[in-house]
């Protein structure tokens, strides 16, 4: 189930895309929850999925559609609040739905994605397909009630769901160690009678291997798996957020940036395999992709008055709906 040669380079491409996408946002756009540091966890998980598999994201979720292979321009335009955005400027940074790529929603309510991903898994089971559903969430979300409620139902009904925790060690500033009775999150799976696996979240191939195994299990009707990818958030909870306390040391941050950067680590692996030139080509290509996406977003029009109303309901322009015409 390991990544073949082409897929290795594709994994690297997607990791670089996430990194440069986020860096472009730092340069051009004031606010957002960035995924820098999480690239290997995200891409390793997504590379184990098919296009028609479901993914749900979180508030820290620019990386998830990119990891799933979504087109970059509409994502960038969405975060710029443009009409050409993937959600027409109605969703934004924390709600980057891309239905074509199976990214059915990003819930910015911490813990909100658990039952949604579980329900998507239920739909696959009821429809009799072999699709699976992968739920991204952070360490903080595991303290929400939906974590246990959803995994319990997935376990008793053997739903094809992969619960994938990006454990970056902190819920905003609260450490896992002081907020979890069982800080070893993978072990919480025992309480639901399902497998729980911890993996180095900075190693894309290791992440891919454990997720691929969980996906195979889910497709065979054997039920859900809980995976804890141990990763690290390089930036603050939210871009440009002033944090008044020192909840983690500068040494810790610098150590991770220097020694545990997932993009640099994977580049080194690929270079060792003699693929330096290919890596450089990918980096140049992604730079162009991101520049083009920023240009596309900047040049795109803002949404209009009618766009305020047009997507509220699928079907009925009821009497109240007509109030949108009042202006």
């Amino acid at each position: 189930m390991s990544l073949d040669s082409d897929r290795q380079l594709e994994a690297f491409r997607r990791m670089v895309r996430i990194r440069l996408f986020e860096e472009a946002l730092i340069a051009h756009n004031p606010v957002g929850h960035l995924s820098i540091g999480h690239e290997a966890a995200i891409v390793g998980a997504c590379m184990a999925l098919r296009d028609d598999d479901y993914v749900t994201g979180t508030h820290r979720s620019h990386g998830h559609p990119i990891g799933k292979g979504a087109e970059i321009g509409p994502l960038m335009a969405e975060i710029f609040g443009r009409r050409t955005g993937i959600c027409k400027g109605l969703g934004g940074s924390m709600h980057l739905t891309d239905a074509r790529m199976g990214l059915i929603c990003e819930s910015a309510i911490v813990g909100g994605g658990f039952p949604l991903a579980t329900g998507a898994g239920l739909s696959a089971q009821v429809r009799g397909t072999d699709q699976v559903s992968l739920c991204f969430f952070g360490d903080g979300a595991t303290n929400q009630g939906t974590f246990g409620e959803s995994i319990n139902m997935a376990a008793i009904w053997k739903l094809p769901v992969i619960y994938f925790c990006e454990n970056n060690g902190y819920a905003v500033t609260t450490p896992v160690a002081t907020s979890h009775g069982q800080p070893d999150i993978a072990r919480r799976a025992d309480g639901f009678g399902i497998p729980g696996v911890a993996v180095d979240g900075q190693d894309v191939e290791a992440v891919h291997a454990v997720v691929a195994q969980a996906v195979a299990r889910a497709r065979q009707g054997e039920g859900p798996t809980l995976i804890e990818a141990r990763t690290y958030r390089f930036d603050e909870h939210s871009n440009r957020l002033a944090i008044p306390i020192e909840y983690r040391s500068q040494d810790e941050i610098e150590y991770h940036r220097r020694e545990r950067d997932p993009v640099a680590l994977y580049r080194a692996v690929l270079c060792e395999r003699g693929r330096q030139q290919e890596c450089e080509a990918v980096e140049n290509e992604v730079r162009e992709t991101i520049d083009a996406a920023v240009a596309f977003a900047r040049e795109s029009p803002e949404p209009e008055w009618a766009d305020l109303w047009d997507n509220m309901y699928a079907s009925p322009p009821g009497p109240e709906h007509a109030r949108g015409d009042r202006k």
Binding site: P115, L116, T146, N311
Partner: protein
């Protein structure tokens, strides 16, 4: 008000059965969950449980009777404080109403022995139902079940999930017979985990199914409101129309009887304030069935608010192959010229009662059932106001930030020139619902309060 107990269906396809044994006798007091009788068919035997509490007033069908048709009145239950001796008279009322309804266009058929000034008004038929349609007497409970069963037969994507919906046949027996017909893959018992299964239903809708999520009562949906509001209602919008979320959240809403504050709340105004949701609160069997079928077919998320006290009531239901009603349209339940009474859900019953009392005093009240709370049928409210120039809104719920408040705002914004009096609202008292029987009665709306308000706006 007497409650008719009808021959239950063990499955949606059952037509008749044997009333094998009565386990209660006339005069016995029963409460919800008590076993009343044993019903047999050639396939199964079932214990027939009480859903409402009261005293067994009259056993209509003796035990041992065979070939009892489903829906036949087999006994009559008297409410607390109701004289058992009056049962026959009061239980005959629905039948009278039915006769009047069928004679709606025939002035000679009006049977009232009126005072000279009494306006002659008959219950108004729903214009959505074709003239000449045969009508059957069906409880709201059965109408809701039939709506789900018909839609599940029609569309295999439709399924039901919730607590006790399958094996137990529904906490209020609304899902009775569905497990037998559709099996455990489509009638799913969940653990007690509202936050979880409301979200799972929402996710399943995103995954292309048409879930019906039953809450044992909407009070428990407080645990789940995040997924109704933050997930279901916003999916379509936040995705820029890429995703649909055709889920129905349904269950009893509003005050029940003697279950106190945590189990007695009307969430109509809460959900109706949320853009992206459709909110429906039917009163009678026809609307319950026709609107639930519409809700299940809707591409949008629907909050469908039922009422426990209305489940057991019997109303006329059109015998149509596919009875689907439009969402977002109010219904004139009774035409009138002097004052409009707007209401929804259980309040409609009080409003109709009030209209009868007002007629005795020479006041001709029009009663409007909103049926859908979002989108609200502004036009229906304003057209009636333009005709009567006076309006009262009756709502079994709190007054503050209520549907009543919204109706008043609509009248102020767009009906000001038609107003001959301030619009008044008749709502529950603005307190958590108390337990004590007398206080509960004091806190809830009734017909008398509506009559009083209507007279006030008519300056009588």
């Amino acid at each position: 008000m007497a409650i008719e107990l009808k021959m239950p269906a063990l499955s949606p396809t059952m037509e008749e059965g044997t009333l094998a044994r009565w386990l209660v006798k006339e005069g016995d007091e029963v409460s919800s969950g008590d076993i009343l009788a044993e019903i047999e068919t050639d396939k199964a035997t079932m214990e027939f449980e009480a859903v409402d509490e009261g005293t067994v007033g009259k056993i209509v069908v003796p035990e041992g009777t065979e070939n009892v048709k489903v829906g036949t009145v087999i006994a009559v239950l008297a409410d607390e404080g109701e004289d058992v001796g009056d049962i026959e008279a009061s239980s005959a009322e629905p039948a009278d109403e039915g006769e009047e309804s069928s004679a709606a266009d025939d002035d000679e058929g009006a049977s009232a022995g009126p005072a000279p000034q009494r306006p002659r008004r008959e219950p108004r038929a729903d214009p959505e139902i074709p003239d000449g349609t045969n009508m059957a007497s069906v409880t709201v409970r059965e109408a809701l079940r039939d709506a789900m069963a018909e839609e599940m037969r029609r569309d295999e994507r439709v399924f039901v999930m919730g607590e006790e919906v399958a094996e137990y046949q529904g906490a209020y027996k609304v899902t009775q017979g569905l497990l037998e017909e559709f099996g455990p893959k489509r009638v799913i018992d969940t653990p007690i985990t509202e936050y979880g299964f409301a979200g799972i239903g929402t996710g399943a809708a995103m995954g292309g199914l048409r879930p019906i999520v039953e809450f044992m009562t909407f009070n428990f949906a407080m645990q789940a409101i995040d997924h109704i509001v933050n997930s279901a209602a916003k999916t379509n919008y936040m995705s820029g129309g890429q995703m649909r979320c055709p889920v129905v959240f349904r269950g009893p809403n509003g005050a029940a009887s003697r279950v106190a504050a945590q189990h007695s709340q009307n969430y109509g105004p809460w959900y109706a304030s949320v853009p992206g949701l459709i909110v429906i609160a039917p009163y009678d069997s026809s609307d319950a069935k026709g609107l639930l079928k519409a809700a299940i077919r809707s591409e949008d998320p629907v909050v469908f608010l039922e009422n426990e006290l209305v489940y057991g009531r019997t109303f006329e239901l059109p015998e149509l192959d596919d009875h689907v009603l439009p969402i977002g349209k109010a219904r004139i339940m009774r035409e009138g010229a002097d004052v409009t009474i707007v209401s929804y859900s259980i309040g409609v019953g009080f409003a109709l009662e009030a209209a009868e009392q007002l007629a005795d005093e020479g006041i001709d009240a029009e009663v409007i059932d909103l049926r859908t709370l979002r989108p609200l049928d502004r036009d229906a409210i304003l057209e009636s106001l333009a005709k009567t120039n006076r309006l009262v809104i009756a709502e079994e719920g709190w007054p503050t930030c209520s549907i009543a408040s919204e109706v008043i705002a609509i009248c102020m914004e767009d009906g000001f020139d038609h107003l001959d009096a301030p619009v008044l609202r008749v709502c529950n008292e603005d307190v958590p619902l108390p337990y004590a029987a007398n206080l509960e009665k004091l806190a809830l709306i009734d017909a008398e309060r509506i009559v009083e308000a209507a007279k006030k706006v008519c300056y009588v």
